[in-house]
């Protein structure tokens, strides 16, 4: 049981970290880039919201399976497949939650407007410097929202993790799947305990993050 909880938290935490790092440049480009095709990228990023998790899981399973051309590139490094592995699970979760990270970060970057970055440039801040010292701190609420949504969404994920993870005990079995299996085995007592714990945990995480966000909003960092 502890192992299942650990896998779930590790998956959600790692996914959140990776997505925050990914959403920062991607969200910035979508907010301020000038390429005409950027809305096409925005649509691709948002696809996981519309697609059933099974569709996404199915394609990921094929892409991460031993016969995929993508995996063929990794064969020289001794990696035959990422299907039914924790790494595969992380890749799937990152793609599945991508829109939940990119959208709030993009919105926050758009809300800043051009003026603060122009002011920073006249104060001799190079673009990279200004991005980290002005844009990111000004968009911090967007990042907090993204972190909350991604973490919660990953913990609550079921279809994608079942398809690419396969619920292998000790490696890719997460809480949501364990609950499903317990119910299938008519172990209602255990399912109850785990489900209630998940509700409590989710509430605490969200509550803590909202408190943190309010504190950050009421005074300058």
């Amino acid at each position: 049981m502890g192992q299942v909880v650990f896998t779930t938290v590790a998956l959600a935490g790692l996914t959140t970290l990776i997505l925050l790092a990914l959403a920062a440049p991607l969200g910035w480009w979508l907010a301020h880039g000038r390429a005409w095709w950027k809305e096409a990228v925005a649509a691709v990023v948002s696809l996981p919201i519309v697609l059933p998790p099974t569709v996404l899981g199915f394609y990921l399973l094929i892409a991460l399976g031993p016969r995929s051309p993508l995996m063929a590139l990794l064969h020289p490094f001794g990696i035959r497949t990422l299907a039914f592995t924790f790494s595969g699970l992380v890749i799937g979760s990152v793609i599945y939650s991508l829109p939940f990270a990119v959208q709030p970060v993009r919105n926050a970057f758009e809300a800043i407007g051009p003026r603060p970055m122009e002011a920073a440039a006249t104060l001799r801040a190079a673009p990279f410097d200004a991005f980290f010292s002005v844009a990111v701190p000004m968009a911090r609420r967007g990042f907090v929202t993204a972190a909350v949504l991604v973490f919660a969404h990953t913990v609550g994920e079921f279809g994608v993790v079942l398809m690419i993870g396969g619920a292998i005990p000790g490696r890719t079995e997460v809480v949501s799947i364990r609950i499903y299996q317990l119910v299938e085995a008519l172990e209602f007592g255990q399912a109850h305990r785990l489900a209630a714990a998940l509700v409590g945990f989710a509430f605490l995480v969200l509550f803590a993050l909202f408190l943190l966000d309010r504190q950050a909003g009421s005074r300058a960092p």
Binding site: P116, E118, T122, D129, V134
Partner: protein
């Protein structure tokens, strides 16, 4: 410090910028003209925030010509925007530090002197959203000075303020004018402001500006074009006639 010379032309939306002039190495050069005449666009081109074709030189340094376009952060231009532009996530002190840290050491007033000059001592720990309009513009001017600019651009820094705010900030600007030794370009459409602050005046109309600058006088009327004087006279006359009727 060095003089600044520019010859720029370009299309911006539906109007055309044609500007050519030299700005001496010290003193305030005002750019006057009705709103919409391209004054802000000219400043943005000098700062490197907008792009026209042509040439901009700051002393020996080429900021822009056919081959080079030095990005804003490497020009060393201070820019005071029309509306408040303090970084909202930083206190006044940290806004000033933002500029000072990146400017490094060099000639010109240091942190404490600039704070003193603009009367910011009591405001340093405040956040920008807890300042009055006048206080924000004073902090913005201080921040621009701390970036040790080779050229200071001011884009109607008083226009977003009410009468009290203008009266509060103007003396600080006059004081700076006496103590600074760097070229300042001051954009305004207010003749009385320009009469108090500027040494020379360039006029801009419908995107066109051509030097050399005219020496400013203390008489605001001297800054107006003949057409503007006629309009004013007519308005005064009409007002007088109405009062009699």
């Amino acid at each position: 410090m060095s003089h600044v010379a520019f010859a720029l032309s370009g299309r911006f939306g539906d109007f055309r910028l044609e500007a050519e002039a030299e700005v001496p190495a010290s003193g305030v050069t005002a750019v006057m003209g009705p709103s919409g005449s391209g004054k802000t666009t000219l400043l943005r081109c000098l700062a490197g925030l907008a792009r026209a074709s042509g040439r901009v030189m700051a002393g020996e340094a080429v900021w822009q010509d056919g081959r080079t376009f030095v990005p804003t952060h490497r020009r060393g231009v201070g820019l005071v925007f029309q509306e408040p532009s303090l970084l909202p996530h930083l206190s006044v002190r940290r806004n000033l530090d933002f500029a000072a840290r990146r400017a490094g050491r060099g000639p010109g007033p240091d942190f404490d002197e600039v704070v003193e000059m603009l009367g910011l001592g009591a405001l340093l720990e405040r956040d920008p959203d807890r300042l009055s309009g006048g206080e924000r513009q004073r902090a913005a001017v201080a921040r621009a000075l701390l970036s040790r600019p080779v050229l200071l651009l001011m884009d109607e820094p008083l226009s977003s303020l009410d009468a009290a705010g203008k009266a509060e900030v103007l003396p600080y600007l006059e004081q700076l004018h006496r103590s600074l030794s760097l070229p300042v370009i001051y954009v305004s459409h207010d003749a009385s402001e320009v009469a108090r602050l500027a040494d020379r005046v360039l006029r801009m109309e419908a995107g066109r500006l051509r030097g050399p600058a005219v020496v400013a006088s203390d008489d605001p009327l001297a800054l107006l074009s003949d057409a503007q004087v006629r309009t004013l006279a007519r308005a005064a006359l009409a007002a007088g006639l109405e009062a009699e009727a």
